[in-house]
Point group: C3
């Protein structure tokens, strides 16, 4: 027979200990902080899993809005390229397949997130930490932030739904300069093209942004969640399809000579992003 | 046998008298003026019906373009919240269902409008008068205009297809700040994000805009109508689906405790938009 | 039996001589130059066919990126209106049908182009040379460039997928002013709305742009092509459908009294674009 213990209570965010994240809930706001500042918050395989878990918990807790930010001077330097150097027993094919499954689930967690998700971009952002911003609802950035997606430099291709969302947000002419030709945007440029909601002076960034966030978290909770879901509903199916296509293309890329040589050059210090 | 009288002529716009609108046709332009300036042109139940009727007539008359503007200093303060205080015999459920049917038909009239529709925004715009602007073809605004959609303040959710059109026009990061977090845009901000075509100094607003409109109305009529329909065709089906989803969500919102309390607080002067 | 000669090698770009184009490949870049400067590079029936052929060759050659530019002070003055004056034996219906088939194939060549396609806009651009820019990946323009789509002036309607892409890029309010009401954009305005990637001073235009293009052409070739195809895939089917609808509308327009009179007025010097 079922035991009461079988219906485990949802563990509170504070109870879970993460290795590379700080997660806390205060003033109706759950904040997920990327906390690997010595590596510019580069995302390891373990961190992808932790962020998926933290988003899942935030989606179910009592908070009204969820915030993602970074500790230290960087927001996030993107995928930790050392992820590519741990070849499992199954060889590179198995590594590529595992990485693909993880990436798909990671992006899926953003597509399906049911509450307002707000990015507090405290410094430079690279790669997948930039592309998934297009799946956030609001993005506030310090003037020190930059936005860089150097996929082709590494023989790779866009992810995080950016092949669909970036042209939608800024038009193909500006999206392709970022996604194909590695153009790095300043915070102001990112704001002008619509990737960022507003840019703040670095000196007042945290004070101004958190003052706003606290007022947002006092708004009617269901109204916010349902409104966000209404906006997302119009393209959710499309986003999942794009995510799948991007991941399949990356599997091909990761196993290609072009990509292997580009990543190797990077590690040998021959290539600069 | 059919009688000639059975094929009634379409009544001319000038023949119809409206309670809260001024409607006239001159220089091939039909102009619909919201005319309840003592209430900042807030839209009552009767006015929704009148605007639907005026758009229907404008769609069939001989004019080349149709203009909507407001009388007085405001363009439109949005839905008249007193619409929520007249509870019919059938109770709040019946009120919500009637309001939903009316709202759906109102937005549908904009989606299906077959000629160029131009907004001449003579002052502040609020709520549904802002959202449906995304279904206009061109929007000219005085520098005094502002654009405000405080849905979550009232426990409600976006309508007028804005959950789809606003992210399409300005990207999700800026759209969500308006639609979820009640950000009020200046005319210049609305122009920068693409909701407004161009902003004019208040002193020359009417002169400059009407000079343009008169030249537009001399262009080939069918070319304009067919071109507008071509642009609209690419997303018409989607717009109708979004309209339906938004209206269904609003029915749920209107009957929710969150919304009822928020609207009550507004009437008691406790809440400010 | 098949002869080896039956499997003809793809002719190299340099081997083909074009009447109105210069086509060359250097530094991994294939450049197609519209070369009818005495007519502001207006596109004749023969030029449409030549451009389709040049794009087909560029898609198959070894180049990494493809560039389109114009010779002389103009980029391109659009469709050569003298195309409308050569009435074939079959009459205007046959002319309209032939023109429609050619236009559909022309736009299709841009939709399906598999590599990064970059516009180097050396001066004013008109009509179809503007609309198809929305199917390019990156568009660099001199400050002298302008962008003008005077369709309704000539009783016509949008093509080049602009009825879909322009509202997507800049929002309906700005797109309709261009597509319905003949608004001519400066290079800076075109950049602000996202039709153009970046604008350069005329004095340094070629130097700065070609320096970038040469660095782009050194990036991993497959990574660029697959990334571009990933971006395009999300809307390819839609673009083909829009192309078909636009072309069918133009057939109706070309045979309409409105269009015939507008074009006649143009040739008699009564109309100015």
């Amino acid at each position: 027979p079922e035991t009461p213990a079988g219906v485990a209570a949802q563990p509170a965010g504070a109870d879970t200990s993460y290795q590379n994240l700080l997660v806390s809930t205060q003033d109706q706001i759950t904040t997920i902080t990327l906390n690997r500042p010595e590596k510019k918050n580069a995302i390891t395989v373990e961190m992808y899993t932790e962020i998926i878990q933290a988003l899942d918990q935030a989606s179910k807790d009592d908070s009204v809005i969820t915030v993602i930010t970074g500790s230290g001077d960087f927001y996030c330097s993107g995928n930790d390229l050392s992820n590519f150097t741990k070849i499992p027993e199954g060889g590179v094919e198995q590594m590529a397949r595992s990485a693909a499954d993880l990436l798909r689930d990671y992006v899926k967690a953003y597509i399906d997130f049911p509450k307002p998700l707000i990015g507090v971009i405290n410094g430079p952002a690279v790669g997948i930490s930039v592309t998934v911003l297009s799946l956030f609802d609001v993005v506030y950035a310090t003037e020190r932030a930059t936005f860089h997606t150097p996929f082709s430099n590494l023989g790779q291709s866009p992810e995080g739904c950016s092949s669909y969302t970036f042209p939608k947000i800024m038009g193909a002419a500006k999206a392709s300069e970022m996604l194909l030709f590695n153009k790095k945007l300043t915070a102001m440029e990112a704001c002008q093209v619509g990737l960022v909601t507003e840019v703040f002076p670095d000196s007042s960034f945290h004070k101004e942004v958190w003052s706003r966030l606290k007022s947002y978290a006092k708004l009617p909770k269901n109204s916010l969640a349902y409104s966000k879901q209404l906006i997302r509903a119009a393209e959710k199916e499309r986003l999942h399809a794009v995510n799948n296509q991007e991941v399949e293309r990356l599997v091909e890329r990761w196993l290609s000579d072009e990509c292997m040589q580009a990543v190797m050059s990077f590690f040998q210090g021959k290539a600069k992003l």
